[in-house]
Amino acid sequence: MARLRAVGSWDAVVVIALVAVSIIGALAIEGVGDPRFWRFVTLEAIPIALIALPMTLIVITGEIDLSVASVLGLTCTVMGQLWVSGVTSLPLLIAISLLLGAALGAVNGLFITGFGLPSLAVTIGTLALYRGLAYVVLGDRAVANYPPEWTTAAIKPIPGTTIAWMILVVAALAVLFGLVLHATPIGRGLYAMGNNAEAAHFAGVKVGLTKFWLFVASGVMSALAGLFWTLRFASARADNGIGLELAVVAAVLLGGVSIFGGRGALLGVFAAVALLGVMRNGLQLAYVPANTLTVITGSLLIASVVGPNVVGVLRERLRSRRRRRRSTAPTVTPTT
C-alpha cells in the first residue's frame, strides 16, 4: 500500500523523470556521462537548492517569498563592502551575512504575520527594495579581490569525486528541513495551515509565529546562498543572482508543491532542482540555443503547475471509485 502511494505521487514522477533524463542524456549526448558534467550541474544547483529548502516549507503554508534573490544580492554586496573596509575574518563575515539574512527575512515575516499582508505583495516589494539597497551599498562597483584560498575552498571537490563539498552542507540541511517537515508536529502544522489556516489556528497551531520564523529561515538560507555565490564567482556585485527567485519557485512547483499550499514534499523539490539542472546543461551540451532553452523551461513550469493537479484529480477519482466499491461490501464503522 505504501509503495503504491509513493509510486502514484508526483515526487515519484519527478524522481523517475530525473533518472530517465540522466540516463537518456548520458546515452544520447556526448559529455553528460562525464564527471565534469555533474560537477557543473551541482555547482549551479547548490544556491537554488539552498533557497528551495525554506521555500518549499513556505509554499506549503500557502505563502511565497519572492525576495530571496534580492536578499542574496544584498548579502553579497554587504559582505563585499565589509571585506573592502577591512573585515578580513571569514567566520565573522559569514556570521554577519547570516544575521543580515535573518534580519531581512524578519522584515518580510513581520509585515506578513504582524500586519496580515499577503506575502506575494510584501515580497515583491522587498524584492525591489533589497535589490535597490544592494545598489546603494556597492553601486556599479564589483568586489573581487578575495583571497584565492577562500574562492577555491568554496568549490573544492569532495576527495575522490568532482562534486563540490558544499553539496554535503546542502544534504545536511536537507535532512534537517526534511525531518522538520515530515517528522514533527511543526511540519504537520505547516500542511494544516496550508490547507486551512483558520482551522489550523483553532487546532492550536501557532500560525503567525511559525510563518514568521519560516521567513527568517528563508532569509538566512538566501544569505548562505549569497556567500556561496560571492566566493564561487569571486565577485560581489549588486546584480548577483538577479532572477534566481524564478528558478527556485520553478523547482519548488515542478517538485509537486501546490502553489495553493497544503501539499508537497522535499524529495520532489530536490529531484526537480536536479532535473532542471540536468536538462538545462544537457540541452546546452546538445547545442540547443538559449532562446529554445527559455521556452522549454517555461513550458516545464506550466506543466509543473498543471501536472500535479491532473495526477491529484486522477488519484482522487481512483480513490472514490475504490471507496464506492468498498462501500458495497459490508462495512465496519470506525470508532474514534
Partner: protein
C-alpha cells in the same frame, strides 16, 4: 503506514544522491587524446573548433561580430559555433563556458560580462585544454591567452569628445553620458578616459553633468534618455558609447522637440543610425567595424591553437584580408582606430 511512506521517500532520496555521486566519482583523471601536437609554423590546423560566446545572444552588435568570425573560420576551414546567454547577468556566461569546455572546443572566443566572475570557469576550461581569446570586453589577463582590443579606451574617448564638441559647437554647454550596464568593464574605462579628455583646455566649455545606465536594453535606454532630458533642461549633448543606447536615444530625440537642439553622438552601427543621421538627429558617430573585430578574433584564435603565436609581445600572425597583426603588451592585439560615420559616408556601409 505513514512511517512506511516516509521510509520509501527517504530511500528514494538516498538513491538520487547515490546516483549523482556515483556518476561523478567514476573518473577524474581520464584525459582525452585531444592534446595538440606542435603544428608546423605558419599553417593553421584544419578542423579547429572555434566557439564565439558573446555577452548576450540576440544582440545585433554581437550578431555582426560573430558573423565576421564565422566568415574567418570558413576561410581557414574550421568549425564555427555561437552560443551564449540571453541576459547580461555577470555569471550567466559561466555555464556556457563549462559547456564549451565539455564539448572539447579548441578555442573559446568570449566577450566578458564581468572580468572576474567568469575567470574561474575560463581557467578550468584552459586546464581542460581549451585556448581562450577575449574580444570586445576583456577579463582579468590571467584568465585568457589573448585579448583582441577593438580600440584603445583613449582612442574611443578622444573621438567621442571630439564629435560631441563639434556637434554642440563653440559655445559648449552641459553634456551627459548614456552608458550600458553600470558594471561593464569597457564602458567604465571609456567614461574615465572621457573625463580625462574633457579636462583639456579646448573642451573647457563642455561640462559633464550626469551618467545614466540603459543596461543595453532598448526600452530602458529610451526612458533613461527621456528622464535625462527632463532632469537637465540645459542639456546640449548626449554621448552614448553603446550601440543599443545610441539607437534608443536617437529614436527618442528624433520624435521629440529636442531634435536638433540636443546633439547626440556615440558608438553605433550604420544600419541602426542611418535614418537618424539623415534626419539630422545625429551629425556623426563612431565605431570600429564589429565584423572585422570578430574576423580578427577568429584568425587570432586559430593562430593560437595552431601554435603560430603563443600570446607573447611581438608575436606576428596573418588575419586573412586584414593583413598582418602583432601582439602587443599584456597579450593584446589592437584592431585599429575607430571610424567616424556621417551623412557623407554612411551609405557605403551595410552592417
Amino acid at each position: 503506514m505513514r512511517a512506511g511512506t516516509k521510509r520509501v521517500r527517504f530511500l528514494a532520496l538516498a538513491a538520487v544522491t547515490a546516483l549523482a555521486f556515483g556518476t561523478a566519482a567514476c573518473a577524474e583523471g581520464s584525459t582525452d587524446g585531444n592534446t595538440t601536437p606542435a603544428a608546423s609554423a605558419g599553417t593553421i590546423k584544419s578542423g579547429l573548433k572555434i566557439a564565439f560566446l558573446p555577452k548576450q545572444v540576440n544582440n545585433p552588435y554581437f550578431t555582426i561580430s560573430d558573423n565576421g568570425g564565422k566568415a574567418a573560420v570558413a576561410e581557414f576551414g574550421g568549425v564555427y559555433s555561437e552560443t551564449g546567454p540571453s541576459d547580461t547577468g555577470a555569471s550567466a556566461q559561466v555555464s556556457y563556458i563549462n559547456t564549451l569546455s565539455q564539448q572539447k572546443t579548441d578555442v573559446i572566443v568570449v566577450s566578458a560580462n564581468d572580468k572576474n566572475a567568469i575567470c574561474g570557469a575560463l581557467n578550468e576550461a584552459r586546464q581542460a585544454g581549451a585556448k581562450v581569446v577575449t574580444f570586445d570586453a576583456d577579463t582579468m589577463p590571467s584568465c585568457r591567452d589573448l585579448f583582441i582590443n577593438q580600440a584603445t579606451a583613449e582612442g574611443i574617448a578622444k573621438i567621442q569628445i571630439k564629435l560631441i564638441s563639434e556637434a554642440v559647437g563653440a559655445d559648449g554647454g552641459e553634456i551627459a553620458i548614456l552608458s550600458a550596464t553600470a558594471n561593464a568593464t569597457n564602458q567604465n574605462a571609456w567614461i574615465e578616459m572621457m573625463k580625462t579628455e574633457l579636462g583639456k583646455p579646448e573642451y573647457s566649455k563642455l561640462k559633464l553633468v550626469d551618467t545614466v545606465y540603459g543596461d543595453d536594453q532598448d526600452q530602458k535606454s529610451f526612458t533613461e534618455t527621456q528622464a535625462l532630458l527632463a532632469k537637465h533642461p540645459n542639456l546640449k549633448g548626449i554621448i552614448s558609447p553603446t550601440t543599443v543606447g545610441v539607437a534608443a536615444a536617437a529614436r527618442y530625440l528624433s520624435g521629440s522637440s529636442y531634435k536638433g537642439k540636443v546633439q547626440l553622438t556615440g558608438l553605433g552601427t550604420p544600419n541602426q543610425m542611418r535614418a537618424f543621421v539623415k534626419d539630422g538627429t545625429c551629425k556623426a558617430f563612431a565605431l570600429w567595424n564589429p565584423a572585422d573585430l570578430g574576423y580578427l578574433a577568429a584568425w587570432a584564435a586559430a593562430s593560437l591553437a595552431s601554435g603560430i603565436i603563443s600570446g607573447k609581445e611581438g608575436d606576428k600572425f596573418k588575419a586573412g584580408k586584414l593583413g598582418e597583426f602583432t601582439v602587443g603588451k599584456d597579450a593584446t592585439v589592437l584592431l585599429g582606430d575607430p571610424f567616424t560615420f556621417n551623412a557623407s559616408n554612411i551609405d557605403q556601409f551595410n552592417f
